[in-house]
């Protein structure tokens, strides 16, 4: 039925509703799915454009450290506590006259224009040294913000003073890429194995499916852990490893589809026209089996993202200063008591991302395969 409709559409004789147009109509009616598509588009755009935006606006990069700004809470403004005039600069002393009295502070790297009389702002919780007789920690524990331009950190900074928003966007890029690529790898392997197994049948089928059964009952995350610890922590290895062990379900789905499809009339027709086995599989069987594969594909992406985060959390994922969401959460979990924002923002980002992808996958399943709806 599907093929008939598809071929009609291809020959453009009748404007019939194809499976895809029909599914699209159903998907648009699903408010939750539409909402999650919008949210996902927004998040993807934010992850792709965010780092450029924060760099252009405020000069933040994901790996720029500024210890004086370590672990600043989120704020739309620069973290100003006190403003004052520089009354003494030179002789190893920087003294700022503020409404609360004179405060001594230290030169910040990059603060080049520290003349007397200059307006300065003092920043909370910086590590400040006083260069009087050797190094001593300043009693106020304030830092000076003068010629150093430091834009606002909307989501705060991490312990090393890196802009958390930029790091989350960057981490989102990594997580999305790993999720997508690993899902592509697993879908490709799964379709190939499933198609071969389903079309060939007989001993090949039995052997391949036995292998899938065996793999399915393995603690395969363990194999990924071993692979990654043993062969180094390259990003590509992670998604290859995740993809290489994640294809099992796709293979089963495709095999099941092809087993039932290959007995249909249109395949017999193709065969009687002299089409070779390879093109029957490629042109006729696989396109018709794609619906469930796409559904499973959208549900694989969040799984892969979660598993990459799992590896990152164990310290096996991307390595610093690079970040993935899992790694950011790992960092944040260590300091959540004091610096709550370092856990809450990356955690919510990951949760919303997974949320959206799962809802979209559910919506697609209802749209593409209404009979499966429970």
């Amino acid at each position: 039925m599907t093929t008939v409709e598809a071929s009609v559409e291809r020959s453009e004789l009748v404007a019939g509703t194809s499976l895809w147009a029909d599914a699209w109509k159903r998907l648009r009616k699903n408010r939750l799915a539409v909402l999650s598509v919008l949210v996902l588009l927004f998040l993807v755009a934010a992850c792709l454009l965010g780092p450029t935006l924060t760099r252009l606006l405020w000069g933040h990069t994901f790996d720029h450290q500024n210890l004086a700004y370590g672990a600043q809470p989120p704020s739309f403004f620069s973290h100003t506590l006190l403003a004052g005039k520089l009354v003494q600069a030179g002789g190893g002393r920087l003294v700022v006259r503020t409404p609360l009295g004179d405060v001594e502070a230290a030169d910040l790297p990059g603060a080049d224009d520290l003349r007397e009389g200059r307006e300065l702002t003092l920043v909370r919780r910086g590590i400040v040294y006083q260069n009087v007789d050797g190094f001593r920690i300043c009693r106020q524990c304030t830092a000076i913000k003068g010629a150093v331009s430091e834009g606002p950190h909307w989501l705060g900074t991490d312990f090393h003073g890196r802009d958390l928003a930029t790091r989350i966007f960057k981490g989102g890029q990594v997580s999305l890429m790993v999720g997508l690529l690993a899902a592509v790898v697993s879908a490709t392997i799964g379709i190939l194995v499933g198609a071969v197994s389903g079309y060939m049948g007989g001993r090949v089928d039995a052997l391949l499916m036995r292998f899938v059964d065996i793999m399915y009952s393995l603690p395969y995350m363990f194999f990924v852990i071993i692979l990654v610890t043993v062969f180094g922590k390259h990003l590509w290895l992670i998604f290859v490893a995740l993809g290489a062990v994640g294809w099992l379900m796709t293979a089963r789905i495709v095999r099941g589809q092809i087993l039932s499809l290959k007995e249909r009339e249109f395949v017999q027709a193709a065969r009687s026209l002299g089409v070779k086995g390879g093109s029957i599989v490629w042109r006729h069987l696989i396109p018709n089996a794609l619906g469930p594969v796409i559904i499973y594909f959208t549900l694989t992406i969040p799984t892969m993202i979660r598993q990459e985060a799992f590896l990152s959390f164990l310290g096996l994922g991307v390595q610093p200063p690079n970040a993935s969401l899992g790694w950011l959460i790992n960092e944040g979990a260590n300091q959540m008591l004091v610096f709550w924002w370092t856990l809450v923002f990356p955690g919510s980002m990951l949760a919303v991302l997974l949320f959206g992808l799962s809802f979209l996958g559910d919506g697609l399943r209802d749209a593409l395969d209404p009979q499966m709806k429970t």
């Binding site: 009952s217 603690p219 363990f222 852990i225 899992g326 959460i329 979990a333 959540m336 997974l354 949320f355």
Partner: protein, 306 residues
Amino acid sequence: MGRFALRRVLQLVPTLFVIVTVSFFIIRLAPGNPFDSERAIPPEVLRDLEAKYGFDKPLVVQYRMYLGNLLRFDLGMSTKYPQMSVGEIIALGFPVTLQLGAVALLWALLLGVNGGIIGALRQNTAWDHGAMAVAMVGISLPTFVLGPLLILVFSLSLYLLPPGLWGTWRHIILPGITLGTAYAAYIARLTRGGMLEVVRSDFVRTARAKGLGELVITWRHMLKGGLLPVVTFLGPATANVFVGSVVIEKIFATPGIGPYLVDAAFNRDYFLVMGIVLLYSVFLLTMNLVVDLVYGFLDPRIRYDP
């Protein structure tokens, strides 16, 4: 049934053989060796060490020796903890992991089955939508987000439960809940789906016509059919629960076997890695077998002998 079980048990043997072989060669072909360290070890000492563990022999001979030892249930010695055998390390850590996993599964079943029943019996009401929305949150929230949050609320703010370590029943609650919640969410969705399939079937109507109470109908009649998808899910779920406990044990500093795996792989502690992988594989294969047998018990329509 008996023959089916026997055949499945016999099928375990080649599976385990594949697992042992693959993991043996993966870890052996990796660069580095267990005695890499900051300080250079004198060559004589290194030679003695390698002789002690048999690393001086060709790889194939070592493989044959390892298989032979396995048949005698000897998993070898750890190179990182030289005074302990792999069996001893497992005996220390695995019971803890087992308890944690059992509590997590119990929590997942309790919460999931009840949530699913509520969802199915009050289909398309606020109850249903509420339960399924909560389930979606549970699925989307990774354990390493949920765990720290629970610690933050229940340990560090309310002082109700210990934030980590092991010992009393109070230590088990937070890690168990953290580990089980995602599976509770899956189980809730599956239970709801399974229940909805039987909720309007003839045998339920008959039971109701006989005058049985709703409680009996739900728990005795509907649940037996409605739980089938859940039972299928429990096999892979058990696998994931025990793999997931690696992270949980790290968050809660639980002295289970999980964290050993990562450390052992880093340290190239060959026999310990193999031992842990093998342990988990045997455990999971057994669980899958049990699930298959239970499935047949719940659904007599399934024939074992082809």
